[in-house]
Amino acid sequence: MGAWLEETLTWGNALLFFLWGVILLAIVLGFVTYAIFFERKVIGWMQYRIGPNRVGPWGLLQSVADIAKLLIKEDTIPRKADRVLFILAPALAYVPAFAVLAVIPYTQNLYFADINVGLLYYVALSGISTIAIVLGGWASNNKYALLGGMRSAAQMISYEVPLVISVVGVIMMSGTLNLRSIADQQGDWFWQWNFIPQIIGFVVFVIAAVSELNRTPFDLPEAESELVAGYHVEYSGFRFAFFMLTEYVYVYAIAALTTVLFLGGWHAPFPFLTWVPGIIWFLLKFSFIVFFLFWIRATLPRIRVDQLMGLGWKVLLPVSILNVFLTAVYLELFVK
């Protein structure tokens, strides 16, 4: 990719960039469609229901039908809303969500961009979605939307700090911010993956990641029972679909990032299993994380807003800083 950027930009090259983008977009949209379907199915089974089973065989076309419904729905913009920002916010939320996917390496050779500071790129861009959520909440000119947007911003800022500090341990162990090298350096036995040596960092990362995704038990920004729907109360039709899409694309991104950082990326858990292609291992671990997110959504209640802030600042932040300190001591005493 880098080599093409240096070349003269011919129509052929531009087409190539465009096609790769479209392919990734198609994969992501397919993932989102079926992630929503499986989420409903899995939660249904866990709650002793059947889940969607009417549209298409085994209900497989349920999400497709839902998306079609959203797309042909009337698009309403409140009269007193700030029209420009109201229209801008969903797009501004989605663009960074899609852009962060560029640095995720799937296997040794299958990746889009091999940036030196891949991890930093991810963290930096995902912060922009927060602006979009606040703007969407503010532009709606609705008190529930504004409250939801405020909560969301407070939550995402508070949990971004432990999220970033919890991966510092991984960065110190691998000595790079490049996601491909981080995944590459983890060994072929499963205890050589980062989640065992960095178990504190891993736990903090997972909790903070769930919170960054605004998912249960941390889905306060859209707490239906208190805020109607949070920052997207006033949105309908395809603008609402964009916010939903953003949320699920971040599920994809976080699941892939966790796999790469802590679960060894494309490595097999045992050296004698390396004949299975790396992409299969990546997908297995990735699917497990996605399932794990659905699982905790089905089983955990929502926490209160003061508990949320307390957990972020008083528990996760000190623990993640302690993790950095312990990693530094370990590296100094036993590695150097």
Binding site: N13, G127, I131, V134
Partner: protein
């Protein structure tokens, strides 16, 4: 002058340049404060893009993280907490405006002259293409610039404690 190489880098430069300039112009001309902050954020992102083109990736994404992310959200928060009403159009003051225009033009002239006049010395040993500049920044920060670095961290800690003290006083 116009025999440039039409590469992807060149196109990206123009996209970012347009983003910076239009963001800056809109920032000045918008009436609503929230709109101004959004266009300011666009400028920050454009500048980060320029850093990427200059192969300073670390600087670029820190710019996005701190300015486009944290600073913009802070400003939006601050604005939302206050009343948001469009400022009434002020009465035109011809003399004032003329003086401002002269001042702005003079400032532009000085800056432009200074930029044209100064020569940028080549660093003694330039970084080889493709070195990990994050690592190099880290090394410099903890060797040559360790005292300024520590001073900045002390300053930030002081500001942090000051903010807590102010917030505490207000809560009581």
């Amino acid at each position: 002058m116009f025999n440039f190489n039409f590469s992807g880098e060149f196109v990206a430069f123009f996209v970012f340049a347009v983003m910076i300039i239009s963001g800056a112009v809109l920032m000045v001309s918008f009436a609503k404060v929230v709109h101004m902050v959004v266009s300011l954020a666009a400028v920050f992102i454009g500048v980060a893009g320029m850093f990427v083109l200059l192969e300073a990736e670390f600087l670029a994404f820190v710019q996005v993280l701190i300015y486009a992310g944290a600073v913009s959200i802070l400003m939006i928060f601050g604005i939302m907490m206050t009343k948001h009403q469009e400022a009434d159009a002020e009465q035109a003051k011809p003399l004032h405006e003329t003086l401002t225009a002269i001042g702005a033009l003079a400032l532009f002239g000085i800056l432009f002259y200074a930029i044209r006049q100064s020569d940028f010395p080549e660093p003694e040993q330039a970084l080889a293409q493709g070195t990990d500049n994050t690592m190099e920044i880290g090394k410099l920060l903890f060797t040559q610039y360790v005292i300024p670095f520590e001073l900045v961290s002390v300053l930030l800690t002081v500001a942090f404690i000051g903010a807590i003290v102010l917030a505490k006083k207000e809560a009581e």
